[in-house]
Symmetry: C2
Subunit: 150 residues, 2 copies
């Protein structure tokens, strides 16, 4: 599965978040080119600070392979991961992260700061950014426009 195809699937997840009145972020995790986990942000639904799309997808992927290690997996997410999610990606040793829109406020791969520049870690994922970012941006802008009108 190509990055753009996988991102389309992550965008389907982001739309689910949008439809449930959650900040629209979606994520899929690939192993050997196939999706093994998919999730969307459900922080408000669960009232759980850690229920970002990436954390929920990593949980499902760990269940799927019955291993906390996801070395050979690619995580595809519509918005640049925050510090918590970059840390989870590091903990799970995910080899490749593909994200859509950069996040100047919270992004941990160059948006707000770059966790891959912190020295001494035992693992650094390879990063690909900007995949279908305009679609992610459109969803997020629509969401916050509606929020402001309420």
């Amino acid at each position: 599965m190509k990055h753009t195809e996988a991102m389309q699937e992550a965008l389907i997840e982001a739309q689910k978040a949008f439809d449930s009145n959650e900040v629209p972020v979606g994520c899929v995790i690939l192993k050997e080119g196939k999706i093994i986990a998919r999730a969307h942000n459900q922080k408000e639904h669960y009232q759980q600070a850690c229920s970002h799309a990436e954390i929920l997808a990593i949980k499902k992927a760990n269940e799927e392979v019955n291993d906390w290690r996801l070395n050979d997996c690619t995580l595809v997410v519509t918005l640049e991961p925050c510090m918590m999610c970059a840390g989870a990606i590091q903990q799970a040793r995910i080899s490749h992260v593909v994200f859509g829109l950069s996040d100047e406020k919270f992004g941990a791969y160059g948006g707000c700061f770059d966790s891959n520049l912190i020295k001494g870690f035992n693992h650094y994922p390879y990063i690909t950014s900007g995949i279908l970012s305009e679609k992610s941006q459109h969803l997020l802008q629509s969401f916050f426009q509606i929020k402001r009108k309420k």
Copy 2:
């Protein structure tokens, strides 16, 4: 409850991890001076990369107060939080973090790097460190000595 008393409770949690063959780290979360959540590292047990003591304790605390915000809470943990856990503390807006032993390898509050020095975040917890650190160190050293002998 004083910091040392709360850390004693976190150490009881760390001992549970030790007894289950997990890296011995324990955590409690206080609200208005009372423990509302407690957890220990269960990464191997669940085969979940995110099942650090702090993440599991934050999940329980969110459930307890039925709110993802833990603004008025103190998180007490035997080992300096890693990047993922520091990110989760930020996401939950926990006001105060008390930790025991510093972690040069992964610590996100000065051990490996200092997440509180990253500019632009919307929340920075107040940090107290070094509380009963020798007890945490003893548990961790014993754990890794046994591991090396195996």
